[in-house]
């Protein structure tokens, strides 16, 4: 397959955070030093080469960017200080933005001004909508149902979820399409007719591998060269955020389905309990992640784009305000502060959902599917 060299592509990638990959002289140190390199996944040298040459489809078809947990070993030992680890992150941001039909992801990743503007405008609009449903702030108890009309929250929330979901779905479809096409182009297609049963069994095997990897992230621990206590390991922090977030999502969804809005429930009510535990995990994980981004103890956190801050910061803020509201609900009286915190919580949560398909969080949707596709391609007979 012929490729056209595009030397300007490197500059485009620089906008996504790949600081200096022109410096790379392709020695292969990064690939060999990586603890995760194994059969069929040799990164990052090969696809830095794709980027230098501007072969975008090869770059986009690389499985490696979805495997990297960014331990920073490659960047720390790179003889050219070309920051290969940061390049992998930038490549991931790039492909995510390529799959996004709205082009918002590209703008959010590459422009600080746009990100901040978008955030402020979206927050302002959401706040105005909420304030349109404003009733009163009773002091004798925290009566959230009389603070903002529940219909405003529900319908806005649902709209935001539907918009984000649709965009995520479109991104996902685009990715599946392009990835399959690119992989078909790369494979010399010597497979021939596939046996239906073998195909199904390798489908299940690939599904199992991808689900296990996403759910437990066992390979993550290979990335910790330095001895770190388990609760500070990036794997634990990442799992806390991921499972905690899923728990919160489940609690909120079940609440919506089964619980009367704003009705008082005891703290041990199953959904409330799930929400509390999950929230604690998210709050812990997001706090450690934020502290690391501020103190920058390793290569991983040395380069933080605004889009990184945005997701983890919003998550942290929403969880924290959620806890404050939860406590306030059980207090004997209401206060203006508690009502405002509730407003911030609701708007923040909606912003978080709205940004899901674009920010750092996009990988949560795209990564499992990409892993599955790659796994299926390599495990199925004839591949």
């Amino acid at each position: 397959m012929a490729h056209t060299v595009d030397p300007t592509f490197v500059n485009e990638l620089a906008g996504y955070g790949a600081s200096d990959i022109k410096a790379c002289f392709n020695c292969g140190n990064c690939t060999a030093v990586c603890s995760l390199t194994d059969r069929g996944a040799a990164f990052p040298r090969k696809f830095i080469r794709y980027a230098q040459l501007g072969i975008k489809d090869r770059l986009a078809a690389s499985k490696e960017m979805w495997l990297c947990y960014y331990c920073g070993d490659c960047s720390a030992t790179c003889p050219r200080q070309a920051e290969p680890g940061e390049f992998v992150a930038a490549a991931r941001r790039y492909v995510i933005s390529q799959y996004d039909p709205t082009t918002l992801a590209r703008r959010l990743y590459t422009s600080k001004a746009f990100s901040l503007g978008f955030l402020v405008v979206a927050a302002a609009i959401l706040t105005l909508i909420m304030l349109a449903g404003y009733g009163s702030m009773p002091r004798e108890a925290l009566r959230l149902d009389s603070f903002i009309d529940v219909a405003y929250i529900h319908y806005t929330g649902q709209t935001v979820i539907i918009i984000a979901g649709l965009i995520a779905l479109l991104s996902l479809i685009t990715m599946v399409n392009r990835l399959s096409k690119a992989l078909n182009g790369i494979a010399s297609d010597g497979g021939g007719a596939l046996d239906e049963a073998a195909n199904r069994s390798s489908f299940l095997a690939a599904l199992k591998t991808a689900v296990l990897e996403v759910a437990a992230q066992t390979r993550f621990d290979k990335c910790n060269a330095e001895p770190t206590p388990w609760f500070l390991r990036r794997r634990f922090v990442h799992l806390s955020i991921m499972w905690g977030f899923l728990g919160l999502l489940a609690a909120t969804g079940l609440d919506l389905l089964f619980k009367e809005p704003f009705s008082q429930v005891p703290p041990y009510y199953p959904m409330r309990l799930l929400g509390t535990v999950a929230g604690l995990f998210v709050l812990y994980g997001a706090s450690v992640a934020l502290i690391n981004r501020i103190t920058q103890p390793d290569k991983y956190s040395a380069h933080s784009l605004l889009s990184d801050w945005l997701f983890v910061g919003l998550l942290w803020g929403v969880t924290l305000t959620g806890f404050i509201v939860e406590i306030a609900v059980y207090l004997p009286s209401g206060s203006v502060g508690a009502y405002i915190v509730f407003l911030v919580h609701v708007v923040g949560a909606m912003l978080l959902v709205l940004l899901l398909p674009f920010t750092k969080f996009a990988h949560a949707v795209l990564r499992p599917v990409a892993l599955f596709i790659h796994e299926f391609r390599t495990t199925r007979p004839g591949a």
Partner: protein
């Protein structure tokens, strides 16, 4: 403290092959030269090498005659065990303060019979052998050392008195003190040389407790006919290695170590050692892991081609990590980028690090010259007059100005000698007349421009 004063034409700092060449070139022209060497023998790094590329000549056979010629030259005075404390400009001359460290052996009395060495009960790792062999606490530095005089290592000596008793010329003197030497010279040649980057500089290449990872200079000693073991065996267990790996650019072209430059000699010395190993151990596999092979000199490319024809394996890969197992075998982790790009841990019995060159000392500490960003002495006009520093009368020879092979070191040492001679010749002429002629010409040019 005794103070000795020496007056000479040229002061050469460093008694390696570069410094000795400069000294000999100047002395042959009739200039009086003093050579300062901090070690107990002259000869520098070259005298420790086994053979030299690309001719595979014996290194001692080239170095020893030069050392002897310098030592016996009527116009050359050699000061060993001596360090330069400071060199300052003193009118039209240079004033140097030297410190002669105690040898605890009277150089005039010692006859180099080594009786002291035979009776000394202390064994210490031998620096000259890269720490592989052993020496005594009182010892002649190495077989071809010049001067052939013993030196006592006060750090390890236990003052048993055996050497003093056995010495036939009563040369052992436990009460020697440091001596100050003042030198007045018309010019200075800096030939302070290089050192190899320490072996443990890159943590990926120095697993804890590793015994079988050698520096290239240690391998030179193993290959040398009068080396520590007399043959090539690996240090951990004395096994004759079946498989030897060379790790190129171990401390060159590596910004993560702060060394962005190429050390220029490692490709060639690795190829040379690989060839010598093929001769010493005909059944052993020798693999060289490299990023690029830089065979730029006369006869170098042919040398490289010969090595390939001899069956030495060249693998294009930057070694990322070296791990050592319980048996002290080594696993070298590389990406095989010229095959299918898979990453492999390849087992070897012995690994040699082709360590890069870093400056032998910081000249700014004792002499007012500028350094480049890489730490080597800065050349004022590196293309047209590579032996000149930014200071008139202070010249630079050999690897003091940057990594170089022996050929270039000797060429540049000759250039430094010539520049020093030119400078001293200029001092002898009536400088004021020359200056006036120049300024007069400038004034006349200014007048012409004004009219």
């Amino acid at each position: 403290m005794n103070t000795q004063t020496i007056q000479c034409d040229a002061l050469v700092v460093g008694g390696g092959i570069g410094g000795l060449t400069s000294a000999l070139e100047l002395a042959d022209q009739g200039y009086q030269v003093a050579v300062v060497e901090r070690e107990a023998s002259i000869g520098g790094v070259m005298i420790a090498l086994s053979k030299v590329f690309p001719t595979l000549d014996c290194a001692s056979c080239i170095t020893t005659p030069r050392m002897a010629a310098a030592a016996h030259h009527p116009n050359i005075e050699i000061l060993t065990c001596t360090e330069v404390k400071s060199i300052t400009r003193d009118g039209r001359l240079f004033a140097a303060n030297l410190m002669k460290k105690p040898r605890y052996v009277d150089e005039k009395l010692c006859i180099g019979c080594r009786q002291c060495e035979y009776v000394c009960p202390v064994d210490v790792p031998h620096e000259f052998e890269g720490g592989l062999g052993a020496r005594k606490a009182i010892y002649v530095p190495f077989a071809t050392a010049i001067p052939q005089k013993a030196v006592l290592d006060a750090e390890n000596c236990m003052l048993c008195g055996s050497c003093e008793k056995v010495c036939p010329s009563q040369a052992v003197d436990y009460f020697q003190r440091p001596e100050e030497i003042k030198v007045q010279a018309k010019s200075v040649v800096l030939a302070t040389g290089f050192q190899l980057l320490p072996k443990d500089s890159k943590k990926e290449y120095s697993p804890p407790g590793s015994l079988n990872i050698l520096s290239a200079l240690q391998m030179e000693r193993l290959l040398s006919p009068h080396g520590p073991y007399g043959r090539v065996i690996r240090p951990s267990d004395g096994k004759v290695p079946d498989s030897i790996a060379y790790v190129q650019c171990a401390g060159s072209r590596d910004k993560s170590l702060g060394i962005p430059y190429c050390s220029r000699v490692c490709c060639m010395y690795a190829i040379k050692q690989a060839m010598l190993l093929s001769g010493a151990l005909p059944l052993a596999d020798v693999t060289i892991y490299y990023m690029d092979i830089r065979a730029f000199g006369k006869g170098y490319e042919e040398f490289y081609e010969n090595a390939k024809a001899m069956g030495i394996q060249f693998v294009k890969a930057k070694v990322a990590r070296i791990a050592e197992d319980e048996e002290h075998n080594l696993n070298v982790r590389v990406e095989l980028m010229e095959e299918d790009g898979r990453v492999e841990e390849r087992a070897h019995d012995l690994v040699v690090l082709s360590l890069g060159m870093v400056p032998g000392c910081n000249p700014e500490e004792f002499v007012p010259v500028m350094r480049d960003d890489d730490g080597f002495v800065k050349c004022a006009s590196p293309k047209t007059a590579p032996a000149l520093t930014d200071q008139p009368g202070i010249l630079v020879a050999g690897t003091a100005a940057g990594p170089k092979d022996i050929v270039d070191t000797i060429a540049k040492a000759g250039a430094a000698a010539m520049e020093a001679a030119n400078y001293m010749r200029g001092l002898e002429l009536d400088l004021s007349a020359v200056t006036e002629a120049v300024t007069g010409e400038e004034e006349r040019a200014a007048e012409r421009a004004a009219s």
